[in-house]
C-alpha cells in the first residue's frame, strides 16, 4: 500500500525501435489484426504504437485447408498458411486504407524463397505509407520458406542480408521459437543487418480429436499462440535481449498491461498483441491503458526506463 515513488499522471510512453519513433510500445502482432480495418470500429487506431500487417507475399497465396484453428488450454493453434492477396492487391486495398490512419505501418513480409522476400520489399519501397518491414522467417504453416529460413543461422542471415540490400527502411526480423538456441539466430540476423528482432512467432503444435481420431487441423500441425506460450516467449526475449545490441520486440500471450510490463522488464523495447485481439477486440488499447496505469502507479517517468529493468 505504501507509495514508493511520486505519483505521475502521465508517463512518457515513447520508444524508439529500429530507428522508428513510436508514440508508445504497443504494436499489433502480424496476422491477428489484418490491416486494422476490422478493428477500427472498436478502437482508435491512432492510439497504437504501430500496426503490423498480415504477412504479404509476391503473388496471392490461398493458405491451407480448413479447419484452420483449434482451441487448446489457454491458447489456440492456427494453420492459416499466410493466405493473402499478394503485394499488389495489398498496396491497393490495405496500404491505401491504412495510410490515412495516423499510425506507423509495419509491413510483415513473407516469401517462399529468398528472391520472393526481396521482390516484395522492392515493390513496397515506392509506397510512402510503409514505415518499416517485419520479415517473417518463422511461419510454421507453409511448406516452403517460412520457418525453414528461421531455424538455422545461415538462411536466416541470408534472407536478412538480401532484404537489407533492398531497403534503407527499418528492418525487423521475426524469429521462430522452435529452435534450440534462439540467441544464436538473433545474433546472425543482427550481424546481417537487422535493425530489430521480434519474437516469438508461434510454437509448432498439434491437436487431436479423440472421438473422431483425426487431427483438429486439416494441416495436422499448426502454430500455438496465446497465454499458454507466454513463459516461453518471455524467456526467449530475456535471452535474446542479453545476446544482441539491437532492440527486441516481445510477442507471445500478451493479454494485459501487466503482461506488457513483464516483456519490457525482460528486455523488450516494444510489444505486440496477437491472439488477445480475437478474445477482446479492444485488447491493444486495454494493454496500453494498463501499461500507462502501471507507470502511474509505480512512478515510472519514461516507459523506456522499464526496458530490461528486471532485478535478477
Amino acid at each position: 500500500m505504501e507509495q514508493k515513488f511520486p505519483r505521475v499522471t502521465s508517463a512518457d510512453l515513447r520508444v524508439e525501435v529500429a530507428g522508428l519513433r513510436l508514440r508508445n510500445p504497443v504494436m499489433t502482432a502480424s496476422g491477428t489484426f489484418a490491416s486494422g480495418r476490422e478493428y477500427a470500429g472498436f478502437i482508435d487506431l491512432s492510439r497504437l504504437g504501430a500496426v503490423v500487417t498480415k504477412g504479404v507475399s509476391l503473388q496471392a497465396w490461398a493458405g491451407n485447408e480448413s479447419p484452420r484453428v483449434a482451441e487448446t488450454a489457454s491458447g489456440m493453434l492456427n494453420s492459416i498458411g499466410l493466405q493473402n492477396p499478394g503485394v499488389e492487391a495489398f498496396c491497393a486495398r490495405d496500404l491505401m486504407w491504412l495510410s490515412g490512419r495516423d499510425v506507423p505501418v509495419v509491413v510483415n513480409v513473407s516469401g517462399h524463397s529468398l528472391e520472393e522476400y526481396v521482390r516484395v520489399v522492392e515493390r513496397l519501397e515506392s509506397e510512402v505509407a510503409v514505415a518499416a518491414y517485419e520479415v517473417n522467417i518463422s511461419c510454421p504453416n507453409v511448406d516452403e520458406g517460412g520457418m525453414a529460413f528461421g531455424t538455422s543461422c545461415a538462411p536466416a542471415a541470408a534472407v536478412t542480408s538480401a532484404v537489407r540490400a533492398a531497403t534503407k527502411r527499418p528492418l525487423i526480423v521475426k524469429l521462430s521459437p522452435n529452435v534450440t538456441d534462439i540467441s544464436e539466430i538473433a545474433r546472425a540476423v543482427e550481424d546481417a543487418g537487422a535493425d530489430a528482432v521480434s519474437l516469438v512467432n508461434t510454437l509448432l503444435g498439434m491437436a487431436i480429436d479423440a472421438e473422431t481420431r483425426r487431427p483438429k487441423l486439416a494441416r495436422v500441425v499448426g502454430g500455438l499462440s496465446g497465454p499458454a506460450i507466454k513463459p516461453v516467449a518471455l524467456r526467449m526475449v530475456w535471452q535474446v535481449a542479453r545476446a544482441i545490441a539491437v532492440p527486441v520486440i516481445g510477442v507471445g500471450g500478451i493479454m494485459t498491461g501487466e503482461d506488457a510490463v513483464e516483456f519490457l522488464l525482460a528486455g523488450a523495447t516494444a510489444v505486440q498483441v496477437g491472439t488477445a485481439n480475437f478474445v477482446d477486440p479492444t485488447s491493444t488499447v486495454r494493454v496500453l491503458d494498463g501499461l500507462t496505469e502501471y507507470c502511474a502507479r509505480h512512478g515510472v517517468a519514461r516507459v523506456s526506463d522499464l526496458v530490461g529493468a528486471l532485478e535478477v
Binding site: 491477428t32 491505401m96 480475437f278
Partner: protein, 274 residues
C-alpha cells in the same frame, strides 16, 4: 472490391449483455434470452453474435451463435451443449453478464420479389431460421418449413415455425416425430409441391449440400448458412474460410449465408459431434 465495399455495413458493436433467462428446451438444447439493446436493434435474420462466455484464459476463444429471435431489447439464442463453452453457457443464470460482439455477418438477404420461401432446418440449423420465418411472415411472404432432427426432443423452435408458416413438415432419424428419415425427404417433396421462389437452408453440411442440389435441380435459388470454426468473428484472422467459385471467403463477414451456387463443397465443415 473497393475500399468502400469492404467498409460496407454498420460496424459490429461490442455490447455488455445480461442474461434474462436460460431454459432447457430440448435434449441438450438451451434457449438463452439476453438483454442486448444495441444488438437487438441492429440485427437482421441470419446474423450472429460472438459471445465471450468466460473471462479466464482456460478456454480462450469466443463462441459464435446465431440470433434466433430479436424483440425489443432482447435477443434469443438457441444452443446445443457440446463442449466446454456451451457447458459453461448452460450454467449462466439470470443476472449474469457477458460480452457479445454483433450483429455479425451477412444474413439471409431475401429479394423483394420472393413471394414464397422454403426454410430447411436440420437440428440446431433451426436457430438462424427463427427470426427469418417471423420477419418474412410479417412482410407477407409465404413460408414453408422442412425440419429434421435426430429425434422429437431435438426438434427445436417448432412452435415458432408452426405459428408463422403455412406449412411445417418434419422428419426425424428415429421416427419419433413426423416421417422417419432425413429432412431431405421432406424438402424434396416441398420443393415440388410448394414451388417456392427461394430456399434457405441451415444444418449439417452434407444435408445442406443435398438440399442445395435438390434446389438446383428444381431451378430454385438457394441460400445456405455455413458453420466454420471462428477465432475473431470479425474478418481479421482468416480462420473461417469457405471455398467459393469467387475464391476463399470468410464465413464471418462474407457469410455465414452464401448463395449455394457459389459454394465449392470441399468437405471442410466442422466435424460432426456425438
Amino acid at each position: 472490391m473497393s475500399c468502400a465495399d469492404l467498409d460496407a455495413g454498420p460496424h459490429p458493436l461490442l455490447e455488455r449483455v445480461e442474461v434474462l433467462a436460460n431454459d432447457r428446451v430440448g435434449a441438450g438444447v438451451g434457449l438463452l434470452a439476453l438483454r442486448a439493446p444495441r444488438v437487438a436493434a441492429a440485427v437482421a435474420p441470419g446474423q450472429f453474435v460472438h459471445l465471450r462466455i468466460a473471462t479466464g484464459s482456460d478456454f480462450l476463444l469466443r463462441r459464435p451463435f446465431s440470433v434466433h429471435r430479436a424483440h425489443g431489447e432482447t435477443i434469443e439464442i438457441l444452443y446445443q451443449v457440446l463442449g466446454r463453452g456451451t457447458r459453461e453457457l448452460a450454467d449462466r443464470a439470470r443476472g449474469d453478464v457477458m460480452d457479445a460482439i454483433g450483429p455479425l455477418g451477412r444474413g439471409w438477404d431475401v429479394p423483394e420479389s420472393a413471394g414464397h420461401v422454403l426454410l430447411v432446418a436440420g437440428g440446431l440449423g433451426a436457430a438462424p431460421l427463427g427470426m427469418l420465418a417471423e420477419r418474412l411472415a410479417a412482410r407477407g411472404v409465404a413460408v414453408s418449413v422442412a425440419q429434421g432432427a435426430p429425434c422429437a426432443e431435438r426438434l427445436v423452435a417448432r412452435e415458432l415455425f408452426e405459428s408463422v408458416a403455412r406449412r411445417v413438415e418434419v422428419a426425424t432419424d428415429d421416427g419419433s416425430a413426423g416421417e422417419p428419415g432425413f429432412v431431405t425427404l421432406v424438402s424434396r417433396r416441398l420443393l415440388e409441391t410448394e414451388r417456392p421462389d427461394l430456399v434457405c437452408v441451415c444444418g449439417p453440411e452434407p444435408m445442406a449440400r443435398a438440399v442445395a442440389a435438390q434446389a438446383a435441380e428444381a431451378g430454385v435459388t438457394c441460400r445456405v448458412s455455413l458453420e466454420r470454426l471462428m477465432a475473431c468473428g470479425i474478418g481479421a484472422c482468416l480462420s473461417c474460410v469457405v471455398t467459393t467459385t469467387g475464391g476463399r471467403k470468410r464465413a464471418c463477414v462474407d457469410g455465414p449465408v452464401f448463395d449455394a451456387g457459389e459454394v465449392c463443397w470441399d468437405g471442410a465443415e466442422v466435424p460432426p459431434r456425438h
